[in-house]
Structures are given as C-alpha cells and as structure tokens.
C-alpha cells in the first residue's frame, strides 16, 4: 500500500501542476531569497519542470530552485486555474 506523506514538499512534485506554499522549513536567509522572487505563502505558483533543480512559474517569471531547497518548501496542490486573461 502506498504511503501518503503527511505533508507534501515542493520536491515531491514531479509533473506540471499548481500549488500554494503553506510553510517553509528552511534557514531564514533561504526563505528570504525565495520570498523576494515571489515564492511566498498563500500565492499560487506553478511547477513547470520537476527534477533537480526544478523550475517554477511565479507571476509569469521562471524561477530555478534547487531540489534540496524545494524539499524544505511545504505545499498544497490547488486546482489548475483557467486562463483568466
């Protein structure tokens, strides 16, 4: 039986999908670097490419994130938004 993790980290995501950051489990300096690039709690972000490193799309910009760092970013999957424009 597949074990479902209690909490999902960004590193657990593989295929393109939308998520929201719920919490960080990282040193403050790393958290700050992610936040200034828009990877903040409560914002909807899209995983573009999994792997190591991975690529996420935030507010129309691509951000490359180390997989080790992604492992400290707790996320929650959110349903895909339809194109609002």
């Amino acid at each position: 039986m597949t074990e479902i993790p209690d909490r999902l980290s960004l590193a657990d995501l593989a295929s393109p999908q939308q998520f929201e950051v719920t919490a960080f489990d990282l040193p403050e300096q790393d958290v700050m670097r992610m936040k200034v690039l828009g990877i903040c709690t409560g914002r909807t972000i899209r995983l573009v490419q999994g792997g190591a490193p991975m690529i996420v799309e935030v507010d129309g910009a691509c951000i490359g994130v180390s997989r080790r760092l992604a492992a400290g970013v707790w996320v929650e999957i959110v349903p895909e938004k339809q194109d609002e424009s």
Partner: protein, 670 residues
C-alpha cells in the same frame, strides 16, 4: 579567518562608504535602481554613453558606475546601483544597493521597471515608495511589452504609485528625452519625497506576499494583457536548454566556443600587442643611451607592464561573451544546469563561468567571479581558480614534455592531459578542504530567475568589456609596475663587469669570444650568452636562488632551476627564458633549449633534468601560484591582502608537497 566575518568586514561601513561617495560629488545625485534583467544597464548606457567611470564603493569590493550627465541644462551625477529584487539583500551587491538607499545619498531614485513583468518589479518599487523616497519610475521595454499585447496606462500607474512614470525603451532610445526632462524637473524642484499609502496593508504574515498582492491589484487596474508572459516558445527552449543531459551538451558546446575565443582568437591581438611592446622596447631602447636607465625603461617598465597588458584581449573578450550570454538569458540557464554538477564539490552553478575562463587565464576568471552571489562561494571559487591550467603554463609544459618525450607525441599528449586533469582534481579537492575548514557552511542552494530569452545587446557587451579592461589596466597595472621594477632590480644588480672577471671565468669568456670571432656569418654569440649566465648567477636573484637551493633540493631542483622557479613567481613562463639564460641556450630555438637542458650537468657531473626532476618540475608548475597579475587582481576582488597571500602560500606549499612526493616516489622506480 571566517568568510562571514570577511563578508561583513567587506560590507561594514558601506553606509558610511556611500555617504563618502556623496561627499565627493557637487551635482545632484540620481541613483539608477531596479531588478536584475529590467534593462537598467542598457538605460544607463543610453543616458551616459562612454562617459561612465567604474569604481568600488569605498570599503567594499562592489563596483559601481557613475557619470555626470546633462539633463535639460542641469548637470546631475547618475549612479548605476547593482541590481536588486528587494531591499532585503542576499548578496554583497544587493547589500550595497540597500545601504545606498538607506544611507540617503541620492537626491532622486530612478527606478527601472520591466513593462513585460510589471507585477514582480513593483515589489521593489513598493519598498522604495514606503520609505518615502523621491522616486521616478522608468517604465522600460515598453516596445517589447506592446509586441506581447500588453498595454499599460502610464498616467494611471503614476496616480496609483503617486510618483512620476515615464515610458521608455532604453534599447531603441524612445522616451529617453522625456525621461531626461522628468529627471531634471524632479531634481530641480528639490525632489519632494513621495508621501505614500500603506502599501502592504500592515504586512501581517508574509510582507512579500502582501506586496505582491498589492502589485497584482495595481497591474489589474492599470494594464491589460499581463496574464500570459511565459510563452510556449520559452517553455520549449527551456525543455532543451535545461535538460539534464542535453543541457550539459549545449553547455559544453558553448564552453568550447568561449574557450576557443579566449584561448585561440585572443592570441591574434595578444601577438600583436606582444609585437608592439617588442617594437616599443627596441625603439625606446635605441633612443636612450645604453646602461642601467635603458634597462630599467625597456626591460623593467615596458617589459613588465607589457607582460601584464598582454592579457587585456582575453579579459575584454571574456566579458564581452559573458555580457552577451547574460543578456540572452542563457547565463542563468547554464548556472541552473551546472548547479547539479558543481554542488557536489561545494561550488555554486555560477562558478562555471570563472572556472571555464581560468583555463585560458586566471585574471579574467577572478574578475568574472562576481557572477556568484554568495560571498563565501565567490571567495572559495577565487581561491581555486589559479589551479586550472592557464595559457602561461603551456610553455613550461611544452619544455618539460620535450625533454621527457621527444618524438613521442602520444606520451606528450597524455602528459599534457594529465597536467590539466591534476589542476582540476586539485581544485576540486581544495574547494572541498576550504568548505570543511576555513570557509565552513553549506553551499548556497540555487534560487535563480530564468529571464526571458532576448536578443543580446552588442552595445552593452562592448561597454562591459571596455569597463572591465579599464579596471584591469588601472588597478592591476599600478601593482605590476611596482613589482616589475623590483624584480628588474633583483635580476640586474649587482652588475657583472666583463673586464673584472678573473680566473676560469675570464679564460672561458676569452675562449668563447675567440670562437664567436671564427663564425663566418658573425651570428654566433656564445660569449654574450655566457656573460648573461654569469650576470644572472651573480645578481641578487641568482644569489637568493643559490642560498635557498637546499630547500628545493628534495624536489630535484639545482640552483639554476631554483632561480627559474623564483623568477617565475612574477609570471610562470619566465622560467623558460631564465633556464635558457642560465644554461646558455637560445630561448627561441626550442630544439637547442631542450638539448641544452637534457645535457645539463650539476657540479658533480650528474644530469640535472632526470625523469623524476622533470615530473617534479611539471607538478610544481601545475599547482604553484606564480602570477603577480593574478595576485593583484585577487587583492582587488577580495578587498585586501589576506586572501591573496593565503592563496600564494597555500598553493606554493601544495605545489612543494606534491612535487616532493612526485620526485621521491618516481626516484624509486626510474
């Protein structure tokens, strides 16, 4: 010796430093600030042309560019601050920007905002407005935004931000005149600070999320079409460029092109400069009466400074290429791809730029280390760069290989490859040792914006290479000039006078003069070479070499080789010419030089260049830090003498230890 301390030492007082900068300038000061990739440099170049000067913020290793410009009859001083996403700094450059803003030395902040990515750029704007600083927003790349179907109501945006907004395209020059007028107007009216609204709603929870939410609202109210900026084309290119395997292949191909440019293409201007300095030496030498002053000017100053300036084409080419790659959006992708490789040895992905260029020359490589954000990672990279085989080592490798494997091209090639590999392996080992000892702490994990692909600006690339060239000539040149004169004095004095030679030396000289006289072509200069050998032997450098030869004896070096090694601390390739002089050979005749060295005997009549000695010499030159220009540049980039001296001592000890092991072990078998 902790990097964090260094970093803070480097940066401490930067508030005072920026205030000091302020004191120097009479005109009103306008600071250009913006996100990386917002087109800040292009706008600065558009506004200033080639008038900018590059300098360090006092007390830091961070560069800034400044130029006096005329705006509607008013002279203002425009300062190009390092790019920053926020006033919460995460690199030495961002810290200087934040300090500059906090220190308040600017009369006006000209904020460059990317119109194609307005929402993200407004985060920094919100931080600036919140501090009630005088701000003008330059809405840049408007032409590109329009092509993407984005329409922005600049007047409405100005009303939202409560500060002037000017629409520009730094690349085409559209709107630049309007921007100049606005800057003049805002500066001349005393730059009222913008009394601003509560931008992030009290910043409960994540202030960045709140700011981005605010920015989203501003964008929604002032523009249309900002929804879909990441195009399918970008995604498709990224799938290839950032692919774990294909991305590395592409990186390798681009790396080869850069390497070829620095290593092969730069050889043409370098040869031309070499010829120019040779011509200058001959011309100036013919104008000054023979003697010590002639030697000081031609050999000491022109020769020494020429030996440094010869690296200029490599530096300018490298920075030209880096600028193109950065502008195109590829540099960030390359760092992304290389991160997974370099992380394992404790280096960040961006270290690939300096590491690659160090294989041509360590000087531009050290200067290129600025691409690395984290000070500790940057320092670690700088400290290992001179272990890569640079072009100056090649004459030494060629000499040793010619002695060891004449007419054996396969073994010669393998020896070359082994020397390159040894440098890389030791660099990796050193990086690891630094990580667990002097520079502890985790390598900074990668978080990097992958900017949109753009056609790079050749103008920006030319400006960047010109700037770096100027810095190199100005800063390294002064140190090198001093060292060149010192080395010339050590190698020249005390003088050996021909008519004061006695005993066997006088007899030998007379014999050689007689042999020269018998040469029907009159080309023979055996006596001249012998005299040069005696001069070198009797000079301070020769005497020092003889005195400390016992230190190098366990490496298999005789006193002449020791003098060669000492002289080569100025520049590695000098060892070839020194050995040629000391063994009475012609440096330009490789065959004759090799034969002379192979036949060289010590005082007891034993061969000097045995296989163990050659291997030991090769290993020593692969690993030793023997390049004064590099030391001067490391001093500049690290902001003091501590790290360049540490590098010099540690690499010399490493070279000595490894050469000792090589000599002693190979002596057991050969």
């Amino acid at each position: 010796m902790k990097a964090d301390q260094d970093s803070s030492e480097n940066l401490k007082g930067s508030s005072a430093a920026v205030l000091k900068v302020l004191d120097l300038a009479e005109p009103k000061r306008v600071a250009l600030i913006g996100n990386p990739n917002a087109g800040k440099t292009t706008l600065f170049n558009s506004l200033t042309g080639l008038r900018a000067r590059t300098a360090n913020f006092p007390g830091t290793t961070v560069d800034y560019r400044e130029a006096a410009i005329e705006v509607s009859g008013t002279t203002v001083s425009l300062v190009d601050l390092p790019g920053a996403y926020s006033l919460h700094p995460s690199s030495p450059e961002e810290e200087v920007t934040a300090d500059f803003v906090s220190g308040g030395p600017a009369d006006l902040l000209l904020v460059v905002v990317d119109a194609t990515n307005l929402e993200r750029n407004l985060l920094l704007v919100s931080e600036l407005l919140e501090r009630e600083l005088p701000v003008v927003v330059a809405l840049n790349m408007i032409d590109r935004a329009e092509r993407q179907g984005i329409r922005i109501d600049a007047d409405e945006l100005g009303r939202e931000l409560k500060c002037p907004v000017v629409v520009v395209s730094a690349r085409t020059g559209n709107g630049i005149e309007e921007l100049r007028k606005m800057v003049a107007r805002q500066v001349s009216k005393g730059c009222e600070s913008v009394v601003n609204q509560d931008l992030c709603g009290g910043c409960q929870g994540c202030q960045f999320a709140a700011r981005l939410d605010w920015a989203e609202g501003v964008v929604r109210r002032t523009s249309e079409g900002q929804g879909e900026r990441l195009t399918d084309r970008t995604r498709a290119i990224d799938r290839f460029v950032t692919h774990p395997v294909l991305g590395l292949v592409l990186f390798a191909l681009i790396g080869v092109v850069i390497f070829m440019l620095i290593f092969w293409f730069a050889a043409f201007p370098m040869d031309a400069m070499d010829a120019l300095f040779g011509w200058a030496q001959a011309t100036v030498g013919s104008l000054i009466p023979p003697g010590d002053f002639n030697g000081l000017i031609t050999d000491g100053i022109i020769g020494g400074v020429g030996g440094m300036l010869i690296f200029l084409p490599q530096i300018m080419l490298l920075f030209f290429m880096i600028s193109l790659l950065e502008d195109s959006g590829y540099l960030a992708r390359a760092a992304f791809v290389m991160d997974r490789v370099l992380y394992h040895v404790g280096l960040p992905g961006k270290a690939f730029v300096p590491m690659l260029s160090a294989h041509a020359c360590a000087i531009p490589a050290v200067m290129a280390s600025k691409v690395i954000d984290d000070w500790r990672d940057r320092l670690k990279t700088i400290l290992i760069l001179p272990l890569m085989t640079c072009s100056a080592r090649l004459p030494v490798y060629a000499m040793v290989v010619a002695i060891l494997f004449p007419q054996q091209p396969v073994w010669a090639a393998l020896t070359f490859a082994a020397a390159y590999s040894l440098g890389i392996l030791m660099a990796i080992l050193m990086a690891f040792l630094l990580k667990v000892s002097l520079l502890p702490g985790p390598t900074r994990h990668l978080v990097i914006e992958l900017p949109p692909y753009r056609f790079p600006s050749f103008r920006n690339a030319l400006f960047a290479s010109f700037d770096r060239g100027k810095i190199f000539v100005k800063k390294a040149g002064t140190v090198i000039l001093l060292f060149s004169i010192t080395l010339w004095i050590l190698a020249t004095y005390p003088k050996t006078e021909e008519d004061k030679l006695v005993g066997s030396q006088a007899t030998r000289l007379a014999q050689l003069q007689e042999l020269d006289g018998r040469d029907p072509a009159g080309d023979s200069d055996l006596a001249g070479r012998y005299l040069a050998t005696l001069e070198s032997e009797n000079s301070f450098a020769g005497r020092i070499g003889k005195t400390i030869q016992p230190v190098f004896a366990p490496l298999g070096f005789d006193w002449r080789t020791t003098v060669g090694v000492l002289n080569s601390f100025a520049a590695r390739e000098v060892v070839v010419s020194t050995l040629a002089i000391l063994y009475g050979a012609d440096e330009d005749d490789e065959g004759q030089l090799t034969t002379s060295l192979k036949n060289a005997k010590d005082e007891e009549g034993s061969p000097v260049f045995t296989v163990p000695t050659c291997l030991s010499l090769l290993v020593f030159f692969v690993l030793a830090m023997q390049c004064l220009p590099t030391t001067a540049v490391v001093k500049r980039e690290t902001g003091g003498w501590k790290w360049p001296l540490f590098q010099l001592v540690s690499m010399t000890l490493l070279a000595y230890g490894m050469a000792f092991l090589t000599y002693q072990l190979s002596s057991l078998f050969v």
